[in-house]
Point group: C2
DNA sequence: CCTAGCAGGGAAAACGCTTACCAAGGGCGG
DNA sequence: CCGCCCTTGGTAAGCGTTTTCCCTGCTAGG
């Protein structure tokens, strides 16, 4: 594993010398400048660069050009399919634009998020995409907004996924409307009494979905009888359902978990409690992560085009998609976990 | 959404002026240098920096210091739980070391991988972690090795996850041994005749697992009767199982899919084909992604500590973990998808 | 044939930082 | 009380690029 002593990387200077031209010419030859360079020279430079395996130092370019090709992405947790799907969209779009993605995880901690924004700002990314979940009670929200405003005032662009609560661009998710539509769909299937597993209070996404769901139920004359609020994770969903079971599930026909990973955990809790999801009690989720096609019964949910969301967030930040672009298609997908009820 | 005209970002120069000290002093005050700076001065500088909301330009630091704080991560597809778990580990470890992760996706294309390595090299990352799956027949493998060697010769460090096929550091996964152990475990449960869903030929990871599995079976006197080789994805797993069903599943007691996402797809294919996984035919996978606890029946698999793998890869590249560190715990996890057989 | 204009190469400044080197001041040993 | 050394602030060089500006040598028009 031991290698030759470290030699310095090949610089443009080396290429220029090798090609027998000036630094300026080498620079112009290697990346489209407005200036034309003689074909013979260009050839020589390109050949020299290839021979030396030259790779331009992006930091140096950034500092000379005053602009980078970086986009920064902040998620709560990349291992969570919701975020990893979004991240995939961002990465794909970035790639198609020749941009490089740097990623950090807030671990659902607002303090950390602020620190990370500060740190990432040092990169002078062209764009920052914040996908980590907003909270209502976030004490550092103001500081975050200030930090981001400072970032934007120096030419950066911020895009939030879901609501920013401040004046930044955002890919708005139809959390409320989705919850509402799901409620109506379930009522239409014959369900009348519901419980919900909601995710810790204050998480905007969770709250909106829940509020929409409740509104949808009420508009149809159905009721949301119980709500538990565990963690916004698979294990939270499991625990939430356990709690519902412990408190007595009688009379509850369907349980809505505000996201799919929780719903999936909830179904496992049901099963471990000796109940059959979709038979003893219906379950529905939100997001339509890939997994839900493969659990049994397949999960009814609200589809969010997650990858598209990531892609859109980047486009939006780059100023390519209008702020008023077509809204993202959100759609209730009914599957076996909520069979029609006699 | 329109904001003030873009003003230039605050520079160290501004901070120094604001604090009434020299550039050098400001620099020394703001980041641990070997030199001490008078407390009064330090205070002034810190205050000025805070007042101006100064954020050091990382590119400039990189170029001045001759070293970055970046680690580059290459995965096949971040939306795949295998990679997203690994990425989570890398990100977490990087964070704890004050490093920033830049990520790119090869989309399972060796050409793209090479391009990405070239592009990422421009960042002068401290470390490059390659998690994208190696292939045996890869025509650009040599070019890749050359590129990486060049990168290492200028002080970079490469770490592969799984075998590099070349002289780079690597976190070796016990793919073969894991497959073998799984085979033995299944035989011990009473299974005798098997099929496998293998992932396209040439993918080293898939081939190793399969070879290990086959070896394990043979050493126990059992047989691997059929092998199909669809894509290395969930849909590949589904298609693979469909093919097995179409060709007739009679006599096959258990199916091994070389990774969990394929296994999960395969179980769905079984179910859609009117068969019950774990009852009509047993199914086992490899990786132990979180999902497999929640499918029905829960999936028997070989656990890989994915997040730990990501973390280790980074430590290894940074030279913190010995090359000969304790091997990663790989363990067969028997669940309901492979019930003991009479 | 002369000159205005343009094409294109090269020198050097600039980008925002770090750090080697210099210089000045203060403490301390003899 | 003198000289040294140590401490610490400042000056300036340097990192690898891009880009402005200058300058030369052609071309083309009159």
């Amino acid at each position: 594993m031991e290698r030759d002593p470290v030699r310095a990387a090949v610089t443009l200077h080396d290429v220029a010398r090798e090609a027998g031209v000036s630094l300026a010419t080498a620079s112009r030859a290697l990346n489209g400048s407005t200036r034309k360079v003689n074909d013979a020279y260009r050839e020589r430079v390109l050949a020299a660069a290839a021979r030396l395996n030259y790779s331009p130092n992006l930091s140096a370019q950034a500092i000379a050009r005053g602009t980078t090709t970086t986009v920064a992405l902040l998620v709560a947790d990349i291992a969570d399919p919701y975020f990893s799907q979004i991240a995939a969209g961002v990465v794909r779009e970035a790639d198609s634009q020749g941009l490089i993605v740097t990623m950090a995880a807030t671990e659902r901690d607002a303090e950390r998020e602020l620190e990370l924004v500060r740190a990432l700002r040092g990169q002078r990314p062209r764009v920052m995409i914040l996908a980590a979940s907003r909270r209502d009670d976030d004490p550092s929200a103001e500081a975050l907004a200030a930090e981001l405003a400072a970032y934007e005032s120096t030419g950066g662009r911020v895009a939030f996924i879901s609501e920013s609560g401040a004046a930044f661009r955002e890919v708005r998710l139809e959390n409320r409307a989705g919850g509402e539509a799901l409620a109506r769909a379930l009522v239409a299937l014959g369900y009348r009494s519901f419980a919900a597993i909601g995710g810790a209070e204050g998480i905007r996404t969770a709250d909106d979905r829940l509020a929409g769901f409740r509104a949808g139920l009420e508009s149809e004359g159905a009721t949301l009888d119980r709500v538990v609020r565990p963690d916004f994770t698979r294990d939270g969903g499991y625990a939430g359902m356990q709690q519902l079971i412990a408190d007595g599930l009688e009379g509850i026909e369907a349980v809505f978990a505000v996201n799919d990973v929780m719903a999936v955990g909830a179904m496992s809790a049901l099963r471990d409690g000796g109940l059959v999801p979709g038979v003893d009690v219906a379950v529905a989720g939100f997001d339509d992560i890939p997994t839900v096609r493969d659990v049994t019964p397949a999960l009814t949910t609200v589809r969010l085009p997650l990858e598209e969301i990531g892609r859109r967030a980047l486009q939006l930040a780059l100023g390519e998609a209008g702020d008023d672009g077509t809204p993202l298609a959100t759609e209730v997908v009914v599957r076996a976990s909520t069979p029609a009820r006699g």
